[in-house]
Amino acid sequence: MRFAAVESTDPEFIIDVEGVTKRFGDRTVVNQISMQVRRGEIYGFLGPNGSGKTTFIRMLCGLLTPDAGQGRVLNYNILTESAEIKKHVGYMTQRFSYYEDLSIAENLDFVARMYGVPNRREAVDKSLERLGLTERRRQLAGQLSGGWKQRLALAACLIHEPKLLLLDEPTAGVDPKARRDFWEEIHSLAARGLTVLITTHYMDEAERCHRLAYIAYGSLLTHGAVADVVRAAGLTTWAVTGDNLYPLAEKLRGLPGIDEVVAFGNTLHISGRNAAQLQASITPFMGGAYRWEPIASGLEDVFISLMETAKDNFA
């Protein structure tokens, strides 16, 4: 009965899991998460630190055993067929986990051997070239800067031509130019049919995903395309522009209907889910030196609001 649901899943879903749960001791770190990711999709996975993203990804590729839940990755059962899953998944860990005392080429060669890549030498050369690492091939991985380490890690988890990429905060600590190049690469891979699940804290990156999910305290709070997520949050946001906004922000915080007040340079974003209450609370402050205007809520406003609500509910 339990497996009936799994058998009937649509093979178009590269990731199709439900009710996945992980406990460490008596702490539930991942709580009943279900997720469906389609072939060729770039799926963003967001959430504050410690919300269980890494733990969830590890369960997808067989590095951790779920305490509850079931499902399929690449149409293999996550509970019983993790050996098969591993062959076709490229997993980029949050912490750099290639050998720092091996050179770039040696690391790639090791990974290629491990996965039994045909024409190994050629594959290594090609991958070095594609990522612009050819001149650095003899450099020890430990001596690379963050950006180059990230390139090496991406090259290494692509070398066996996986069908699914699991990228855990791949762009943390990487400069904007390198981040942009990285995303170009991800999009071109997805265009060729590769499915990508990626965790990030950057809003601009979240907006480049086809769909995304947001988790906090181990629970999935929302998911869908960016626009759907924003709409579903039902948030009203006002922007206030002017000088010396700090005292105003202090006064607004905690008023009924105001869920969050966030400063962006010379602008304050004031959001809340109850539009009428929010309006009532800000009306007394309108006029004067400040310019008020209603704006479309951004992803960040939505996530911060979700997290605040989640804190009230779970923490």
């Binding site: 590095l63 951790l64 591993k86 062959k87 040696e106």
Partner: protein, 379 residues
């Protein structure tokens, strides 16, 4: 669940990787070469003790009263424990070669009659002097033992025989290490000690290091099987073990002038079992420890009893039963007997077989536990 057989390709990937890492880690590599040399120099001294109840075979061709009281006196001294009576020189030799007895007491025909006639018959004591510490006290006690035993029986007109040079001519035949030189025993033994220490330590770090550096997560994400990873981590260090053996053999020959009687090729072959046994122990520790420090502590926990109870520090037969029981399980105990057997006694494969199978059994158990303990998840 599908079966996933051993993949030579992935095993080889591990071997290549470990070799490169070993080459890059100059300090560790230097230690593995430096430790044997340092120990050779440090262990120039011997540790003394007074082992008793040493197994002794009796080859007696005389049934007279004097031979009986002589044997009785030896037995009463606590130094000698008669384990067998043999009928020929060849039989006695076999027991000595196999290490089953430490001594053979050889009493010639007509011993009692010759003694009464005042002809000073010869008693031959053959000793396995491989380990001079083990036999030393027993040998020095025997002269006094014999004369006091004879004293009681020499009465009446036989009293005159008590005069110098004594009624019996005791001949001592130290075999294998005729001059009783301690370092002849220590240096081959050191081979086993050095291998135990470095081999267990180096692999104890092998898996914990991957865990500590975070590379374990990646290794586990690949399709690698536990046995491939273990074996891949063991094989490169077998080579290191052989370098150490060669160093010690060279030092034994050139620096300490230890006579090498047996076949070094046989030694190299047997060493494979011993090295693998120790590497497997290390790997097992590696899967038990949470970090490199714990792994090193466990390696020492294994190393100390090996050093103390194997017969390297103290003569095995001088230890209490419980210590001998522990010692018999340790691979070093058996390897010491094999090394000394081959190098000093010229033992062949048949002679060392009784010590080879416990080694092999130990290796199999350690490797199995290691593979079973190696977890494929981060749980």
């Amino acid at each position: 669940m599908k079966r996933h057989p051993f993949s030579p390709r992935r095993f080889w990937a591990m071997v290549v990787k470990e070799f490169i890492q070993m080459r890059r880690d100059r300090v560790t590599f230097g230690m593995m070469i430096g430790i044997p040399l340092l120990q050779l120099i440090l262990f120039g001294f011997a540790i003394n003790s007074d082992p008793k109840h040493l197994p002794t075979a009796v080859l007696s061709a005389d049934q007279g009263i004097f031979s009986r009281s002589l044997l009785f006196a030896l037995k009463n001294s606590d130094y000698f424990r008669f384990v067998s009576e043999v009928n020929s020189e060849a039989e006695a030799q076999k027991l000595l070669d196999g290490g089953e007895v430490q001594f053979v007491v050889n009493i010639p025909e007509n011993f009692s009659r010759k003694l009464m006639r005042g002809e000073r018959p010869t008693v031959l004591l053959e000793a396995d002097a491989t380990d001079p510490v083990a036999t030393g006290n027993a040998i020095s006690a025997i002269t006094t033992l014999i004369s006091s035993a004879m004293d009681r029986d020499l009465k009446g007109n036989l009293q005159r025989l008590k005069a110098t040079p004594g009624p019996v001519d005791l001949r001592l035949h130290r075999k294998y290490n005729p001059e009783g030189i301690t370092r002849f025993n220590i240096v081959p033994g050191l081979m086993g000690v050095v291998l135990t220490m470095t081999m267990v330590m180096i692999t104890a770090l092998a898996v914990t290091r991957e865990r500590e550096r975070g590379t374990m997560e990646n290794l586990l994400a690949t399709p690698a099987r536990p046995f491939e990873v273990m074996l891949g981590k063991i094989v490169p260090y077998i080579l290191v073990g052989y370098i150490q053996i060669t160093l010690i053999l060279l030092a034994a020959k050139l620096l300490f002038q230890v006579p090498i009687v047996g076949n070094p090729v046989l030694l190299y072959a047997v060493a494979l079992v011993f090295i693998t046994a120790n590497l497997s122990v290390g790997i097992t520790f590696s899967t038990l420890g949470q970090n490199q420090l714990q792994a090193v502590q466990m390696a020492f926990f294994f190393f100390l009893p090996s050093l103390l109870l194997s017969g390297f520090m103290f003569p095995f037969r001088g230890m209490p039963d419980w210590a001998q029981a522990i010692g018999s399980v340790l691979p070093l105990t058996h390897f010491l007997r094999i090394v000394r057997g081959i190098l000093l006694k010229g033992n062949g494969l048949i002679d060392i077989l009784p010590h080879l199978w416990p080694l092999a059994a130990f290796m199999a158990v350690a490797l199995t536990i290691g593979v079973k303990r190696y977890r494929q998840t981060l749980d």
